[in-house]
């Protein structure tokens, strides 16, 4: 599928999840997202890995919501904590909402190459040209950043190991000691990037780069019929949610 279609769908999904506010609309949106998850044909573990780092936060938030929302039938009360029917439904809704948003974002990132996502983001930013936003410069910065994340990652580990080999300690000591320990990591990294920036911009100029105006594209994105299907599903989902939500 076209990454632009997927990116649009993900953003749209976050918008329409606001529409769900009762059991029926939540089950509809659950069904649709589970369909999307199923359609990726990926193992459940991939999605579990997406949810895992946030699971504590999700539970904690739901619990807080459970105890601090009052209304409906009160089952249990102690000091400022109340457990009411309204609180329980609310907590469950929040739990579902968290999980669904993470699931859909995972579908997006797992099924798309970073480069494609960046291209799609650039496409979505183009309307900003009306407001004189330098979209072409932003696109250039984006592709450079994307390209250099892996390289600099290696670089960072190399510098860390090099400094460790001569006694630097990144994981121990008090607050100030640790804050100081970041400098031997950051300064070489920064000097390296200054050098890389000079080299790269010279190389770009030598190859005739004169700004983004009047350039052609090598990587082109193509809309496919699946994107139409996908966006069609979303229209159906929105209509269903609008019908079944309580006003």
């Amino acid at each position: 599928m076209d990454p632009r279609g997927k990116l649009l769908a993900t953003i749209f999904f976050v918008c329409i999840i606001f529409l769900a506010n009762n059991w029926l609309s939540y089950s509809i949106i659950c069904l649709f997202s589970l369909l999307a998850v199923w359609a990726t044909k990926l193992k459940p573990k991939v999605f579990w890995d997406g949810v895992k780092p946030l699971i504590g936060l999700i539970f904690f938030t739901s619990l807080l919501q459970l105890f601090f929302t009052s209304g409906g039938e009160v089952y249990w009360k102690w000091w400022i904590f109340t457990c009411s029917s309204y609180g329980i439904t609310n907590a469950v809704y929040i739990f579902i909402r968290f999980t669904l948003i993470i699931l859909i974002s995972t579908v997006m990132t797992v099924t798309t190459m970073p480069l494609e996502i960046a291209d799609a983001m650039e496409w979505i930013l183009t309307p900003l040209k009306i407001f004189k936003v330098p979209v072409d410069k932003i696109a250039l910065v984006m592709s450079i950043a994307l390209r250099f994340v892996p390289t600099l990652f290696d670089e960072t580990f190399k510098i860390m190991n090099a400094q460790r080999s001569r006694g630097a300690d990144f994981n121990n000591g008090g607050l100030i000691k640790r804050a100081k320990a970041i400098a031997p990591l950051l300064v070489p990294l920064f000097i390296n990037s200054l050098q890389t920036a000079v080299d790269l911009s010279t190389a770009m100029e030598a190859r005739g780069y004169r700004g983004s105006e009047g350039r052609t594209r090598y990587r082109v994105l193509n809309w496919s019929k699946y994107d139409l299907y996908n966006l069609g599903y979303f229209v159906i989902l929105t209509v269903l949610l609008l019908i079944f939500r309580t006003h």
């Binding site: 976050v14 938030t61 929040i94 450079i144 790269l200």
Partner: protein, 174 residues
Amino acid sequence: MNSKSKQIRGEELRKLVLLGIIVAIKIILSQFSFGPAMVKVGLGFIGSVMLGYLFGPIWGAVGGGISDLISSAIFGNQGGFFIGFTLTAMAAPLIYGLFFYKKPVEIWRIIVSTILVTIIVNIAMNTLWVSLLYGVDLKVALIQRIPKEAIVPWIQMVVIYFVLQALSRVKIKK
């Protein structure tokens, strides 16, 4: 057409490329964290400080926004794609830029800017987004966030002080 004025060359191109690389550094740093398990401090804020200090409020904010977009493209956005968190990522370098860009490194600037970032960005904006996105009560989202935000800024100030000193040394040497 005035195509000549739109051309990027020399100094500006170098700046843009450096911005791209600093954005990459910010993304990498935000994958690291230090501190005891209870209060993990991410290093992403160092990237924000670098962006603000080197490129000023406007380009720093642009860089912050890009860093959020790219890191969500590479690592997946924890907590979902949401434009609000991109705005948050833009606001921090903007504030740091207002305080640090082309200014001498001073203790009060570090303290005031960190407190401002904590209040405006981490407490106000992020809480607002969480409550909007997940339908959590504002009060609930705040309670969950306050303990961490009461501790972390002080650590950040110390780190920022050393980082800025190191950076200004590099800048002078160049």
